[in-house]
Amino acid sequence: MQLYVPILVLAVLAAGFAVFSVSIAPFTGPKRWNRAKLDAYECGIEPTPQPVGGGRFPLKYMITAMLFIVFDIEIIFLYPWAVAFDKLGLFGLVEMVLFIVTVLVAYAYVWRRRGLDWD
């Protein structure tokens, strides 16, 4: 049983945090009303209008999706390293930093050339 104590503690902490956040929000948070608040799925942003009748999506969706694919999958190389980073030692760390720097270069290009702007 001793083994499960940390999990129980974690569960209690998580539940406490959730209850605390929800109950404190009405008192501390600002109150603004807009359409997004009334929508079924609410994440705080008004949804971009959907094309009518299954029409075509604007191209900006594709650019975002493509950037996501590339940067998301590049990071896959971090997983094997993260599992064994202590065994790989300094060499592994240096190689990973080099790898991340290269990815950052691509990221800087995308950012500077306004690939991340929605409009």
Binding site: M66, V70, D72, I73, I76
Partner: protein
């Protein structure tokens, strides 16, 4: 035991290959190529299991990365040509012939 996976991988590769040859939409053709790459990944992982070495799994990572880069470049090219011609059919793109 690993034979089944190899057969599945060969089937996927064949489906992808036939798809590339018979489908007419560039996007679908491209998806078929991706299917072929994933068939390769399945084969790699299966052989890694069969041979008891980890290399195959690492290779699968590399293949995924390369495939992702290929997806992005391919989609960029196909979308550009679609915007120009309003069609992604590989049959419509037939200006280049003698």
């Amino acid at each position: 035991m690993t034979t089944h996976y190899l057969v599945l991988s060969a089937l996927l590769f064949a489906i992808g290959g036939v798809g590339v040859l018979v489908r007419r939409n560039a996007i679908v053709v491209f998806m078929c190529v991706e299917l072929m790459l994933n068939a390769c990944n399945l084969a790699f992982v299966t052989f890694a299991r069969q041979n008891g070495s980890l290399d195959g799994q690492v290779i699968a990572f590399f293949v995924m990365i390369v495939a992702a880069a290929e997806v992005v470049i391919g989609l960029a090219i196909i979308v550009t040509i679609f915007r120009t011609r309003r069609s992604a059919s590989v049959d419509d793109a037939s200006l280049l012939k003698h």
